[in-house]
């Protein structure tokens, strides 16, 4: 069930350039059903900024009723969010959307992320590993300073890093790494900028894949039609990223 809750800020720290890790605590956590879901966060009790910001769930701790977001503080709203301190509260609406179908992976899964698309893959990797699935992580960032969670992913499985400027890992995009890797996985999961998602789909037409999309949002719950995408299926002429997604099977969304 979707809830709106004033959650407690438990921890906030900067973990890479412009990248913050924010953990909050509250009952809403227990509503979370799958990695890849997101929450809609109100960053200030002001009309300016007015709208909520969609942020993915990066890690869930059901016992402590805490979850973690990892986000890039660049615009007005996320900059304000980065000023929240333990003891502050945060108005969170969620969990929203449908996450990654963990149960679809059989033995080995590729998790392919770019930039701020990486965070939801962390909770996904945890759950896949818990289910006994072997995960390989292929993560792309701008540069060395923007890299985060490398060690955490390594703890869960083989991890490859690409940076655009080559300052860390392979130089280039995640696709450069993918070209070199064996195709011995059964399922892939991906989250990142739309061009990356497109490239990943093209690279593995024969594989089962699930992609998480981004769109500018209004309501975040499916009521305003802000976040639509056309689809390849004639019976559904468009989908809403917020409530039908953000995760869709490969080949469905025309982004």
């Amino acid at each position: 069930m979707i809830r709106q809750e004033r959650m407690q800020v438990v921890d906030q720290k900067q973990i890479a350039r412009h990248i913050f890790e924010l953990t909050v605590q509250g009952g809403l956590t227990s509503e979370m059903t799958a990695p890849g879901q997101f929450v809609h966060v109100r960053v200030a009790d002001s009309y300016e900024p007015l709208l909520r910001r969609p942020i993915s769930v990066a890690a869930i701790d059901p016992e402590l009723q805490q979850f973690t977001m990892i986000y890039r503080a660049e615009g007005r709203g996320t900059s304000l969010l980065s000023q929240k301190k333990p003891g502050d509260t945060l108005d969170v609406l969620g969990p929203l959307g449908n996450g990654f179908p963990v149960e679809q992976a059989e033995k080995k899964a590729y998790l392919i992320g770019g930039g701020i698309g990486v965070p939801p893959l962390y909770e996904l990797a945890k759950q896949l590993n818990a289910n006994g699935i072997q995960t390989v992580h292929i993560l792309g960032f701008e540069s060395k300073q923007a890299v985060f969670y490398e060690e955490k992913f390594k703890e869960l499985g083989e991890t490859h890093i690409a940076t655009v400027d080559g300052s860390h890992g392979t130089q280039g995009f995640v696709t450069h790494i993918l070209n070199e890797l064996p195709k011995d996985f059964d399922t892939y999961f991906s989250c990142g900028p739309t061009p990356m998602l497109e490239a990943v789909q093209w690279a593995f037409p024969e594989k089962r894949g699930f992609l998480s999309y981004e769109q500018r949002m209004g309501c975040g719950i499916g009521a305003c039609f802000a976040c639509v995408c056309r689809t390849t299926k004639s019976e559904t002429d468009y989908i809403k990223v917020c409530s039908d997604g953000p995760v869709f099977p490969a080949g469905v969304v025309i982004a």
């Binding site: 709106q4 007015l50 500018r216 209004g218 305003c224 039609f225 802000a226």
Partner: protein
């Protein structure tokens, strides 16, 4: 006991608060959050004769205390709205105000005729003010004569009372209000969005794919309130007021200025519980101000 009920043509409202069209879909999403029967009414998303896919994305952009949208009247079309969405809403004890849009007078007439037959549609809201479609929409809302003719045409076929939704993007909103009154309108809803624009700071490109969008939210409240006040001075038609309402105080302001009921749009996105919260706060607020009913409060700014 404070009396929240409001009687308007076609509408016996439990209370004067309702979600505004386009900000509440066809109710399904908010029904996950609370019982829609708590609402005074529901203004559903615009319906057109044929299904519409609307504008390309991005369709929304944030502005200071407001937002722009250019959804472009995306909707599943008359048949599906009347055949699926409206029947689904019948489970709630709440009157529906169906928002009607189109490109030609014939479009409006067809949707109005058909949709007003649905048992839970108690009134129509004729959207002559949508700024986000190339044809129709706002063009009907900026010329008094055209607005009057359209009102008459819709009145001829509608089997429920007809409210005309006015555009704020006009020199003289009172003249449009008077025109639709002459055309036989049963009421007015106002205001739709102000036409605005936001640019990407890096590229200078408009953020909204449609280039311009409709501005809504707290930023426009002063303009909306002024327009309701002016129109109330010049006509006795019932007014459902909207534009930036986010709190019970905002709702009181609109009723003070002369609105008989109040719709809440953008604020639903910020606080999905805003409508039931305002409804819950109204009795005490009215009491504090010394009123025993909503109807006593309406128009108090004009009686000072």
């Amino acid at each position: 006991m404070t009396n929240l009920t409001v009687k308007l043509p076609g509408l016996n409202l439990k209370n004067p608060i309702m979600p505004a069209s386009g900000c509440f879909g066809f109710g399904k999403e908010y029904a996950q959050l609370y019982d829609l029967s708590e609402l005074g009414a529901i203004m559903i998303k615009a319906a057109t004769v044929e299904m519409r896919l609307g504008n390309p994305t991005p369709r929304v952009a944030e502005t200071a205390s407001g937002m722009l949208n250019a959804i472009g009247l995306q909707n599943p079309g008359l048949t599906k709205v009347a055949g699926e969405e409206l029947p689904w809403l019948e489970r709630f004890d709440v009157p529906i105000i169906a928002n009607v849009a189109g490109t030609t007078t014939e479009d409006y007439v067809e949707v109005a005729r058909e949709i007003s037959k649905a048992p839970n549609v108690h009134a129509l809201e004729i959207n002559i003010s949508c700024p986000n479609v190339k044809q129709g929409g706002i063009t009907f809302g900026t010329d008094p004569l055209v607005a009057k003719e359209l009102t008459r045409a819709v009145k001829n076929v509608a089997s429920v009372p007809v409210y005309i939704k006015l555009s704020p993007n006009v020199t003289d909103i009172v003249s449009i209000a008077k025109a639709v009154e002459e055309g036989g309108a049963d009421g007015i809803t106002m205001i739709n969005t102000l036409l605005g624009m936001r640019l990407d700071p890096k590229t200078g490109r408009p953020i909204i794919a449609n280039i311009t969008g409709g501005l809504s939210g707290p930023a426009i409240k002063p303009v909306a309130l002024r327009m309701v006040y002016e129109v109330r001075k010049q006509t006795d038609l019932p007014i459902i007021g909207m534009g930036g309402v986010a709190t019970v105080e905002d709702a009181i302001d609109f009723m003070s200025a002369g609105a008989n009921a109040v719709a809440v749009g953008t604020a639903n996105f910020v606080n999905p519980f805003v409508c039931p919260e305002i409804i819950a706060q109204l009795p005490e607020k009215l009491h504090d101000l010394g009123y025993e009913s909503v109807e006593e409060l309406v128009g108090r700014s004009h009686r000072l």
